[in-house]
């Protein structure tokens, strides 16, 4: 028996001896006051809790508060302006373009990452020699610094000396001495491709983990029943990937929409705003024009939209799972 339960027993008998009932302080507080271990546990998490409150919870509240204020950064003055910041950004002429760019960026990045990720997962799931090495190589983009990725992408697409530009030029897809980054569609395609390159390993490894969890017996049973490779994939493999796909869609959606670095470091939102998506707009309002209030309003709109989307998605998929 541990020291703690002995201590608890001692407290109990003290109450019994005095003939009093334990004080009614509510279930949680009661447990907290009496349970030595609970207090120790709280001591262990206290530093982390303090950090989370100051640097995560408080900023979340603060960004919402800021979105209703006009902040003059030079004089450090704040003025409550109601919904003025929201009205201002929603009336901005570039709202439509930025929203559209965000949509295109997100949908195509997700499509690319999921398609390549699933293909790669099916590939490395085969029991063949060399697959561990192949898996390791395919995981590399995940750790390559985004800045390095941006550098070599820009270098390969350099109008005069880039190897990819040269290939595209000789194929006649773009004019001589031109970079795909100079055209709106080319720039968007480039950042999406770069994001696919960086993001697919994560999808791959998640799918691979799910594939590893499928019991072998199911495949044996399927082949006894005369199923071909396609039927095995359709009726055994796919149904086992539904759950992980649902979870990953929400996570990757949030991370893709809010991903700032790749576009900023490759195109800075250019040419002419053609690749400017929501995070870049937030960044420029805040760090470019020092309009903290409208930057915060944009951030709140983004977070709000994401929460709404995730909630709708969760409710919708729960409905389909219950059927």
């Amino acid at each position: 028996m541990s020291a703690v339960s002995a201590r608890l027993a001692a407290i109990g008998s003290r109450y019994a001896a005095s003939g009093r009932r334990p004080p009614r302080t509510g279930r949680f507080l009661d447990r907290f006051l009496r349970d030595h271990k609970a207090r120790i546990g709280l001591v262990f998490i206290a530093p982390a809790l303090a950090f989370l409150i100051v640097f995560v919870a408080y900023p979340v509240i603060e960004v919402v508060r800021l979105s209703f204020h006009l902040v003059d950064f030079a004089t450090d003055q704040e003025k409550f302006v109601g919904f003025a910041n929201f009205v201002q950004v929603l009336r901005d002429a570039k709202l439509g373009t930025v929203a559209w760019n965000t949509l295109v960026w997100t949908i195509f990045s997700l499509a690319g990452q999921f398609a390549l990720g699933l293909t790669a997962a099916l590939c490395i799931n085969q029991r063949l020699p060399g697959m561990t090495l192949i898996r390791t190589i395919l995981l590399l983009p995940y750790v390559v610094p985004v800045i390095a990725l941006a550098l070599f992408w820009r270098w390969m697409l350099d109008g005069s000396f880039g190897i990819v530009s040269a290939a595209l030029q000789s194929a006649g897809a773009i004019a001589p001495d031109q970079s795909p980054l100079a055209t709106p569609d080319g720039a968007m395609a480039t950042v999406i491709l770069a994001n696919t390159w960086r993001g697919f390993p994560f999808v791959m490894i998640s799918y691979w983990a799910a594939l590893q969890a499928i019991p072998h017996e199911l495949y044996e049973a399927a082949s006894v029943d005369g199923a071909g490779p396609w039927q095995e994939f359709r009726y055994v493999t796919l149904p086992h990937l539904v759950t992980i796909t649902k979870v990953m869609l929400v996570l990757r959606l949030i991370w893709t929409v809010t991903f700032f670095d790749i576009i900023w470091l490759i195109t800075r939102g250019g040419p002419g705003g053609a690749t400017e998506h929501w995070p870049i707009w937030i960044y420029q309002e805040t760090m470019g024009f020092f309009r903290f209030g409208s930057g915060a309003a944009l951030a709140v709109l983004l977070a709000g939209m994401l929460m709404l989307l995730s909630a709708v998605y969760l409710v919708a998929t729960r409905g389909s799972a219950a059927r």
């Binding site: 120790i40 262990f44 998490i45 040269a166 994401l306």
Partner: protein
């Protein structure tokens, strides 16, 4: 899984080859370009393999105090972030795996807030907090920001490692008269050392690669980290591709090596849902 048929085998290797070229070519091209002299770098159409190899770009970087200071700053910020984050993380993970207390689930959930509110949403108010603490343009300010990004994942990963250490071991230590702190420091930490090491590597890599907070918090040249320093390198008018490819390679190699050491834990971490991408 059953043995693959001949067709499946061929198809698998063909697809794998395409994927490896897609992943590997840009990386290889960066390294090759960093080794080419100007005469081979700036030709149209480009040649794949260099005829001559030069180390002049690397020599230029090593000779410049600016480049060295970038690496020093990234190293200092990365190591400090790792220390702070792991200290907070191990204590908290020990607390939540060994003790029951009111609000434990709320605490674990709250640690995940920053998953739903990513850096791009939080940086505005974090900037103002760091500013009011007088920590703008200091290493400490940036270290705190990096801890915001790395803490949730460190906590959840450490939690899963600590859960792997049987509670009977704790109880045996308590019976032998060890205090909770002694049990934690002398028994549990040493047992979870491989796990701690892998979390440390991931925290360091995240900090090493981080750009957004660095660009917001740091303004003076001698405090800039690698991503920030290089980003300004390429927006300047005269783009020195040789040096840029060399510094890109130098920034990538350490994290790739570290990643290869702890890859196994990465796979486990993704599977348990602790890592974000």
């Amino acid at each position: 899984m059953k043995r693959a048929s001949r067709t499946t085998t061929l198809l698998t290797y063909a697809v794998a080859l395409v994927l490896i070229v897609f992943v590997g070519f840009p990386l290889l091209w960066m390294v090759l370009s960093s080794l080419k002299p100007s005469t081979e770098l700036f030709v149209n159409p480009p040649r794949i393999l260099p005829r001559a190899i030069t180390l002049e770009w690397y020599a230029n970087l090593v000779g410049s105090s600016d480049a060295l200071s970038l690496f020093r700053n990234s190293l200092v910020v990365g190591v400090a972030t790792t220390v702070v984050c792991l200290t907070l993380g191990t204590f908290a993970a020990y607390g939540v795996t060994r003790f029951d207390f009111p609000g434990k689930r709320a605490f674990l959930g709250a640690a995940l807030i920053s998953y739903v509110f990513p850096a791009i949403v939080l940086f505005i108010s974090v900037y103002m907090i760091i500013n009011s603490l007088g920590l703008i343009d200091t290493r400490l300010g940036l270290i705190l920001c990096h801890c915001i990004l790395t803490f949730p994942f460190a906590l959840w990963m450490l939690k899963s490692f600590f859960e792997g250490v049987p509670r009977e071991i704790d109880e045996a230590a308590w019976v032998d008269g060890a205090s909770f702190t002694q049990t934690f420091v002398l028994v549990i930490l040493p047992l979870s050392l491989p796990g701690l090491f892998s979390v440390a590597v991931f925290v360091f890599v995240l900090s090493w690669n981080e750009f957004l907070f660095a660009s917001v918090m740091i303004t003076s040249g001698d405090l800039k980290t690698i991503p920030l320093g290089i980003a300004e390198f390429i927006t300047s008018f005269d783009i020195r591709w040789g040096e840029i490819m060399a510094i890109g390679t130098l920034a990538t190699v350490p994290v790739v090596i570290m990643f290869l050491c702890v890859q196994r834990y990465f796979v486990a971490g993704v599977t348990s849902g602790a890592i974000k991408g």
